[in-house]
C-alpha cells in the first residue's frame, strides 16, 4: 500500500491537536512513523512531531554520491543529517556524541541562544573533543525554518549539516497541507583543504568559462569589435575577470537537493490542489542558487525563519545559509521540476513535485551565465552598461565618509568608487529575464520590530578581498590581523556594509538578528544572513540583546576561512 509521506495537515495547530483532536490523534497514531523516520535524511519530510530531547551522533560515514564512496563527517550517518523538529517555548536538550577522531561542533544557524550554546569553537565554547559528549541546552524562543552545521575543520563543506523546523507557539498564519524541507548543498569528492590549496595557487582554478580568443569572436559579433576589445581591456587593466562568478564551480561540484544528485531526482508527493510548504535551505559551502518551479508560482512567506508578507514570484535567489519558505499549490495532475541552477550556471540541483512517485517533468535548460559589469565593480556611474530597468537609490545620510574607504593593499584589490543600493536588484544573472524574481526590496515583515529605537551609532564595514592571493576580509584586513567589533549590551546599532569585491557575500551575524533596512521601517525584514551584492551597499539594524562572543562572517566557507570573519563582542 502506498503511504503518502505527509498526512499531517499542518493547518491543524498544535494546540488543537493536543486539546481537542482525539480523532485526529487516532489518525496520527495509525501512520507508520518508523517508515517516515527511516528516510528523513533525504526524504525532506518534516518529522511528525516536535521533540525537546535529541540524541545525535556525529561520526564518519561512507557517502556515495558520485559512485566513489567518500568518508565524510555526518550526523546520524546521513548527508544531510536528520531534520530536527523543535517547538517554540520548549527547553531543548541536544545530546551530541562525537565519534569522529577530530574535534567537532554544531552551530544552530539563526537560532538565538546563549553564546556558549552557539557552537563556534574558540568563542565561549571549546568544541567537542573526539569521543566526547556535549549537551546543548537552551530555550527555543523563535519559530520557522533554520539549519545546523559544523563550525569545525571544514566538516560543513563535507556534509555535516541538516535542517531545523520550529513549530510556532502561536498558530501558524500560513496554512498548508504538506510540508517539505528542500535542503540544497554542493557536494564534491575533492577535500575542502585541497580546494583551498588550489585556489591559493590559482584563484580561477575551477573556472573554465573565462573569456578567450574564441569567445572574443562570439562577443565581437554580438556587441562589435571595438566595444568588446574595450571591455576586455578595462577588465584586464584592473587584473580582474568579468567571468568571476563562483570560486568553485560545477567542474567539481554536484549540486544536491535533500542529498540527492540531479539524476537521483528527489521527489515530493502531493495531491493536486494541495497547498505545499517548501522550506528551502541553502546549506552549500560556496554556491548560490536561482530557484524556480516551471509552471508554478511561489508565494514567499518566510525568509530566514521570519514570516514576511506573501510575495508571489516565479523565481528567487538563495544565498549560502539563507532560508526561504514558500507555498505552492499545483492544480494539475502532473509533475513539476524544482530547478535550482547555480549562479554561475555550471550545474543545478533538481527535484520533482509529483502526484505519484516515479514521475518527472522536463528539466529546463540553464540560463545564460552572468557576466560581471562595472556595476559589480562599484563603478555604476562610470562605465556601467547593463543596469537594465533597475532603480538606483543611493542610500543617503548615513553613507560612509570617503575617509573610511579601505586601503588597496596585499589583502584588498578594489575599492567601490560608487557603491549603490542594489536591494531592488534581483542580482547578476537574474535581471530582465522575463520572470518575476524576488528581490530584497520585496521582503516586508508581518510583525513590527520589537526594538523600535533608532540606532545610536553606525558601524561601517567594507567587504574586501584579493582574488589573486585568495585572501578575504573586512576593511582590507583578515580576521587574524583585526580587532574584534565591540557592542554594548542592549545597544542598537546600524551595520552598513559596502561590498568592494566583485562577488556576492552572504554575511551572517551569529546570535543577534539583522534587520535589513529595505525601506519598510518597523516592518523591515528580519534576517540572519544578508547577501551584499558586488558594488552594493546596504544597512541593517542590530539590537545587541544577548551578551557574549559572536561570529560575524561571510558564509561562503572559503571566504570565511581565509579571513572574512570578525568576532563581535557584546558586553
Amino acid at each position: 500500500m502506498h503511504i503518502p509521506p505527509v498526512l499531517k495537515g499542518r493547518n491543524v495547530s498544535r494546540r488543537q491537536f493536543i486539546t481537542g483532536g482525539s480523532a485526529l490523534a487516532a489518525l496520527y497514531a495509525l501512520k507508520p512513523p518508523k517508515q517516515v523516520f527511516a528516510s528523513t535524511h533525504t526524504s525532506g519530510i518534516v518529522p511528525q512531531n516536535a521533540s525537546n530531547t535529541f540524541d545525535l551522533t556525529i561520526g564518519w560515514a561512507n557517502v556515495n554520491i558520485l559512485d566513489k564512496p567518500q568518508r565524510v563527517p555526518t550526523m546520524n550517518g546521513g548527508v544531510p543529517g536528520p531534520i530536527l523538529r523543535w517547538r517554540e517555548g520548549d527547553d531543548l536538550r541536544l545530546n551530541i556524541h562525537n565519534t569522529l577522531d577530530e574535534t567537532t561542533s554544531i552551530h544552530w544557524h539563526g537560532i538565538r541562544c546563549p553564546a556558549h550554546m552557539d557552537g563556534v569553537p574558540g568563542l565561549s565554547f571549546a568544541g567537542i573533543e573526539p569521543g566526547a559528549r556535549f549537551t546543548y541546552r537552551f530555550p527555543v524562543k523563535q519559530s520557522g525554518t533554520y539549519w545546523y552545521h559544523s563550525h569545525s575543520n571544514m566538516q560543513e563543506a563535507m556534509g555535516l549539516y541538516g535542517a531545523i523546523v520550529i513549530d510556532p507557539k502561536e498558530p501558524d498564519p500560513n496554512s498548508y497541507d504538506r510540508d517539505y524541507v528542500i535542503l540544497l548543498s554542493d557536494w564534491s569528492d575533492v577535500a575542502p583543504h585541497t580546494i583551498i590549496n588550489k585556489l591559493k595557487f590559482q584563484d580561477d582554478y575551477y573556472n573554465f568559462r573565462q573569456r578567450t580568443a574564441v569567445s572574443f569572436f562570439h562577443d565581437a559579433k554580438k556587441s562589435g569589435v571595438w566595444p568588446t576589445l574595450k571591455d576586455r581591456m578595462q577588465w584586464a587593466g584592473m587584473n580582474m575577470s568579468a567571468t568571476d562568478i563562483s570560486d568553485v564551480s560545477g567542474i567539481i561540484y554536484t549540486y544536491l537537493m535533500n542529498g540527492c544528485a540531479p539524476a537521483a531526482n528527489w521527489t515530493g508527493i502531493f495531491k493536486p490542489g494541495e497547498r505545499i510548504r517548501l522550506r528551502f535551505i541553502n546549506a552549500s559551502a560556496m554556491t548560490f542558487y536561482d530557484i524556480r518551479i516551471p509552471g508554478l508560482q511561489m508565494d514567499i512567506i518566510q525568509a530566514d525563519g521570519n514570516n514576511v508578507e506573501p510575495v508571489r514570484v516565479d523565481e528567487f535567489r538563495i544565498g549560502v545559509a539563507e532560508t526561504y519558505d514558500c507555498i505552492v499549490q499545483p492544480q494539475g495532475d502532473q509533475a513539476y521540476t524544482i530547478f535550482a541552477q547555480s549562479e554561475d550556471r555550471t550545474g543545478y540541483a533538481r527535484g520533482t513535485l509529483a502526484p505519484h512517485s516515479g514521475m518527472s517533468a522536463p528539466v529546463p535548460p540553464m540560463d545564460e551565465r552572468p557576466v560581471r559589469t562595472m556595476v559589480d565593480m562599484g563603478m555604476a556611474m562610470h562605465g556601467g552598461h547593463d543596469m537594465g530597468g533597475m532603480k538606483m537609490h543611493d542610500m543617503p545620510m548615513h553613507s560612509a565618509p570617503k575617509a573610511h574607504a579601505p586601503p588597496l593593499n596585499v589583502e584588498n584589490q578594489n575599492r567601490a568608487a560608487m557603491p549603490i543600493n542594489r536591494l531592488a536588484d534581483p542580482g547578476d544573472g537574474l535581471q530582465n529575464n522575463g520572470r518575476r524574481v524576488l528581490t530584497y526590496a520585496d521582503l516586508r515583515a508581518t510583525h513590527p520590530a520589537t526594538d523600535q529605537r533608532p540606532p545610536s551609532r553606525e558601524i561601517t564595514l567594507h567587504l574586501t578581498g584579493n582574488m589573486e592571493r585568495y585572501i578575504w576580509g573586512f576593511d582590507g584586513k583578515k580576521f587574524s590581523e583585526a580587532e574584534p567589533i565591540p557592542l554594548r549590551l542592549d545597544e542598537r546599532v546600524r551595520f552598513t556594509l559596502i561590498n568592494d569585491t566583485m562577488m556576492e557575500h552572504p554575511i551572517h551575524l551569529h546570535g543577534l538578528w539583522s534587520e535589513l533596512e529595505n525601506g519598510n521601517g518597523l516592518y523591515n525584514p528580519i534576517k540572519h544572513t544578508i547577501i551584499v551584492q558586488p558594488g552594493g551597499k546596504l544597512s541593517y539594524l542590530v539590537s545587541a540583546d544577548t551578551p557574549g562572543l559572536w561570529a560575524f562572517h561571510c558564509h561562503l566557507l572559503y571566504h570565511m576561512d581565509l579571513g572574512m570573519f570578525r568576532t563581535v563582542v557584546v558586553s
Binding site: G9, V120, P121, G122, L123, A126, G127, H151, P171, P173, N197, Q202, Y205, F208, V214, M238, N239, E309, V311, K391, H393, M395, P396, M397, H398, V410, E411, N421, A441, D442, L443, R444, T446, H447, P448, Q452, R453, P454, P455, S456, R457, N466, R469, F479, S480, P486, R488, E491, R492, E517, G521, L522, Y523, S539, M560, D561, L562, F565, T567, S571
Partner: protein
C-alpha cells in the same frame, strides 16, 4: 485514512478555524503595534525629521495583508509617525548610548582556538619549463621552476633553472633562495642569494628583486644581483593568452644583464643573453599541461673569449632557434 483527513469538510472546517485565528492575531497585532509605535516615539520629538523619509523602493505588499501601518498612521500625530515608519531612522546617540564605539575588550578565545584558519602556511611548486629543445642531430634539455612555502605575507622562495646538453654538460645553472615578502596587491619583494652552480665555475651573488602580476595580467619579475666583481640584472616576463579555456599560448622571455663580462661562464658585458619561448600548452588538467613551443636563445657577447668559452654558443651559434616540447606542471 487519507480520504478521512483530506475530506473536503474537514479541511474546510480547519481552514475556517485557522483564518479565525489569523484574524484574531492580526487584530491584536494592530493594537500592539499602535501602542508600541506610540511608546517608541516619545522622546524623539526634538529630533530633526527634515529629510528622514528615504526614497527607498517600497515593495508592494498585497493589500489584504498590511496589519499595523494604517493604524499607526491614523492614531499617531504626524511628526511621530514619520519617525516611526521612517525607512532609515538617523543615528540618534544619547548619554546612555553614545555614538562612539566602546573600548575593544581583550579577548580570550577558549583554549586559544582560532575560529578560522586564515594564517596557514602553504607549499606550492611550479615547473614552468621542463622541455626538450631540438634541432637536427642536436638536442638540449632545459628546466625552469620555482617553489614557495609560507604564509600570505612571508615566504621562503626558491627558483632554479638550468640547461643540459648532449654531452651532459650542465650550463646556465642559476639557483636562487629568497625571503619573500608580500608588499602590495600584486607584488612581492624578494631578498636572498643566487648561486650559479653547473659544469662551469661557480659564482655567488646577493639578490634583491620584485615579482608579481603587472596590470593586464602580465607575470613579471626583476631582480638585481651583486657580488665583488660587479652587478647583474635579470628581467622575466610572461603572459597567458587564452585561446580556449584549456589551450593557452604563452610568450615568455628572460633577459640577463651584467656590469662585467665573465668569459669563463660565457657572460658578456651589458645585455648578455636572452632566453625566450612561445609555448602552446593544453591543460588536460590544470596541473599537468603538455606543450609545444618555439624557443630562442641568444647570446650577445662581443668578445671572442666569450664565444670560445661558451660551449653552448660554440656548438649552436649565438642565435639558437629550436622546436621544443615539454610539460608544465605544478602542485
Amino acid at each position: 485514512m487519507k480520504t478521512c483527513l483530506y475530506h473536503p469538510y474537514i479541511s474546510r472546517f480547519l481552514l475556517l478555524g485557522v483564518s479565525a485565528l489569523l484574524m484574531a492575531s492580526v487584530v491584536t497585532q494592530q493594537a500592539k503595534a499602535a501602542s508600541m509605535n506610540h511608546a517608541a516615539m516619545e522622546g524623539m520629538d526634538d529630533m530633526d525629521m527634515g529629510d528622514m523619509d528615504m526614497p527607498a523602493s517600497k515593495p508592494k505588499p498585497q493589500q489584504s495583508s498590511k496589519p499595523a501601518q494604517h493604524s499607526g498612521h491614523t492614531i499617531l500625530p504626524n511628526k511621530s509617525t514619520t519617525a516611526g515608519t521612517s525607512a532609515y531612522p538617523p543615528v540618534t546617540p544619547s548619554a546612555q548610548w553614545p555614538a562612539t564605539p566602546p573600548p575593544v575588550p581583550k579577548l580570550h578565545y577558549v583554549q586559544h582556538i582560532h575560529p578560522v584558519m586564515d594564517h596557514n602556511t602553504y607549499f606550492h611548486a611550479l615547473l614552468e619549463q621542463f622541455e626538450g629543445r631540438y634541432t637536427p642531430g642536436n638536442s638540449l634539455f632545459r628546466y625552469s621552476g620555482q617553489a614557495w612555502f609560507g604564509t600570505d605575507y612571508n615566504k621562503f622562495w626558491v627558483k632554479s633553472e638550468g640547461l643540459l646538453d648532449g654531452h651532459r654538460r650542465f650550463s646556465d645553472g642559476d639557483h636562487e633562495f629568497f625571503y619573500d615578502r608580500a608588499i602590495s596587491t600584486y607584488f612581492d619583494v624578494q631578498a636572498g642569494i643566487r648561486l650559479d652552480v653547473d659544469s662551469g665555475p661557480t659564482r655567488a651573488w646577493g639578490a634583491v628583486g620584485v615579482q608579481g602580476l603587472a596590470l593586464y595580467f602580465f607575470d613579471v619579475s626583476a631582480t638585481a644581483y651583486f657580488n665583488n666583481t660587479g652587478v647583474a640584472g635579470k628581467l622575466e616576463g610572461s603572459y597567458d593568452f587564452l585561446i580556449t579555456n584549456r589551450l593557452i599560448l604563452q610568450p615568455q622571455a628572460e633577459l640577463n644583464f651584467y656590469s662585467h663580462a665573465d668569459p669563463e661562464r660565457g657572460v658578456s658585458r651589458g645585455f648578455s643573453d636572452i632566453d625566450a619561448g612561445l609555448r602552446l600548452r593544453y591543460e588536460f588538467k590544470r596541473q599537468i599541461a603538455p606543450y609545444i613551443a618555439v624557443t630562442y636563445a641568444g647570446h650577445y657577447g662581443s668578445t671572442t673569449s666569450v664565444a670560445r668559452n661558451n660551449t653552448r654558443m660554440a656548438e649552436n651559434g649565438p642565435e639558437d632557434l629550436r622546436f621544443t616540447f615539454g610539460i608544465r606542471s605544478w602542485f
